[in-house]
Amino acid sequence: MKKQNVKSPILSRRSVLMGFALVGGALLVGPVSQMAKAVSEKDFGKFGPFLKITSDGIVTVISKHCEFGQGSHTGLAIIVAEELDADWQKVRVEMAPANMALFGHTKLKIQITGGSSTISNSWDQLRRVGASTRAAFVQAASELWNVPAVEIMVDKGVVSHVGSGKTTEFGKLLRRAVEITLPAEPVLKTPDMFKLIGTENTFRLDGKSKTTGTEIYTEDVQLPHMLVAMVVHSPRFGGKLVRFEAQAALALSGVVDVFEIPSGVAVVAKNTYMALKGRAALQATWDDSAAEMRSDFEIMADHKAIANGDVAGEWGAFETVGDIGSAFKGGYETMACSYDFPYLAHSAMEPMNCVAQVEGKRVKLTFGAQSQTGDQRIIAAIIGCKPDEVEIETLHAGGSFGRRSVAISDYQSEAVYIAKKIGGFTPIKLIWTREDDSAGGSYRAMAYHKIKIEVDKSGYPLAWQHRLVSESILAGTQFAAGVRNGVDRTVVEGVQGSPYFKAIAAVDAQVSMPKSPIPVLWLRSVGSTHTAMAMEHTIDQLARRADINPVEYRRVLYKKAGNERHLRMLDFIVEKSGWGTPIEDGWVRGMAIHECFNTVVANVVELRMEDGEPHIRRVILAVDCGLAISPDQVRAQMEGGVYYGLSFALYGEVKIDKGIVQNTNFDTSRVLRMEDAPIVETHIMPSANRPSGAGEPGTPVVGPAVANAILALTGKATVSLPFVKS
């Protein structure tokens, strides 16, 4: 959303629904009647819900997916623009309203952005949008000039006929083009015809607004009569409010109201600073009888007790190959290893926030939404309306990493409860401070992996027993149906489906998912945040144990598994990284390869130890994500993925003392800064395959590559993260 839109966001969003045309990008021009009188408003819906073209030649792609940095808006616009043969300089993008029927994910059937699937689920859909609209312009020109359609060319929004020398533009042909019935099965381009896809000819459509400060995030929304709200939460997860003292807060000028909501006590004030002061003046007492009282190390000890069989746990099998019963009988050597992973906070730069307005059964949310349909369901239950009556205007978010698609709609619900109490459709901007965000839960769950492997005489695995203990993300939420036979695949993905298991005679992998009042959630690359380490560091330990180069060790297993894609990646990263060539004294390389959301990423890190801490100077990264729509944005996501993954591998942990989160701001919660950031050198595997995703798969590979480098340097295996304990 751009600044100019803010003054009348209701009008602008409704305008889209009603078929008005708004020129997206930096300019807001009024309703279409002011711009193109000759064409009636309803005609702009002729190209479908994903595309608007106006008489000034501006092509606006409607994005059903949100933008929080991953480049989704630009990527989707490129797909349409390519098939349309639009002029990239005239392409804009606009966020779709929440509407499952029009803007649902083609596979998940709800409107959501996640699983690095924005491009892959939109690929066929948006190519058809662009191609059929192009066909309409070609047909319109053919009829206008009375020449065969096959002789008409389109390039950069210019429609021309070589034989007659006639030429025109999309904007000028619009009136005729909207009369053409769009072909149901338009002819799509072959890759050799691409002018934008796979090239360096595009740029981020949100670059300018984000470089000049005109992009409006939730935090920046200013509406007439808007109030700012903050909430005092229980210091412990699961704590219940007993009482609160509001007088001191209410005595402050600027504090409008103080009242209880289900998650705590809300303070409503005239501006942010008064809300902060009001909240600081509030006293609340909590009942911790149902609260989580354990410290982090106690929760981990309980995970280990389940894995070790000291405490009974419910187990779900997720990988079973051959007969594990005949393994581990002696006769062959075994190797055992284990890893513990802490809770992780997403720590997006923009802490969670949401603007809500309620009057009776009318409700509108304006914020960086990531899971529109899920939010609609939960908000509808609060308001007593139907889910599709919950209006959501989605803004750009200042990062998410999964936090904004929270399945329980925690912060969104808070905003709505407060707006419902205030009523009158008064805009309420709920702001979580950094401390609220860090202590607010919905973390990447703690996880413990315990692995036992039987090896043959050459040191290759014969049998692999894997026990994983980690809280379920989906259980207890609106997506609980995703848990089947005691297995939440978002917890086990990465161990489940590991390419190595096709090269091992017997595999027995099971998961146990204990419950806790601490809510957990997906975090960029989800299960792979821990499973990549569990698999890739174990493979290197096996290779070192057998005294075999980790590259050769992997090659043998990939060959045995018949995994051509991983073999190609292995050769590619060896070539690009200089693996096996000499490196300066004190420096060492480490490698890891992992598939996440159908994309395969390899990392080689160059590392040395400095003052007992790993220092990484360079990460050579190779990625196979199928066809790269925008190579530069794939590189950007790989760079960002490495930094995000390195940040949590080196420093990430939510520290909990007797149920209370201790490290709630960046002074105690270290994240990667420029001084720690290695050079990331990205190599994209040439591919004509369907595009997969790039937002998340770059994240989980660097951690195991660092562990493998440390193993090569010191001979010591990593058993717990983060690498740098505070």
Binding site: R204, D206, T212, G213, T214, Y273, S400, R434, R673, M674
Partner: protein, 150 residues
Amino acid sequence: MGFILNVNGKDMTVETEGETPLLWVLRDELRLTATKYGCGIAQCGACTVLADGEAVRSCQMAVEDLADVKITTLEGLEGKHPLQKAWLKHDVAQCGYCQPGQIMSAVALLSETPDPTDEDITDAMSGNICRCGTYQRIRAAIKDAAKNSG
């Protein structure tokens, strides 16, 4: 109380308590929302503005202490600064939330050190957190802007 602030070359009057951090005055009173809240304790740099040309964290500056200080926010660059052009050339921004603070830190760096070394850049920019991970492109854009304006 009323205070006069000089922001982006203009004197502006605000009615607020003197202790109010500049960050909230800029955002809530003056509606200059490029300057962002990220931590409130001068750890993340998202609220960086220039005070008499020096990069400061606006979350830590009380409005009552700024009577004779010239404040510059990202809006004050009017999209014309060589760094903004370099930011676009390298497509630095991802989510973009930290970028106003990053750019203001870089403006202060280049005004003092027009031809910074890698170490100068690291020193000047390590107070600004970017969670999307744009550090490599920030470095490249600063070098580019330095080269083109030098």
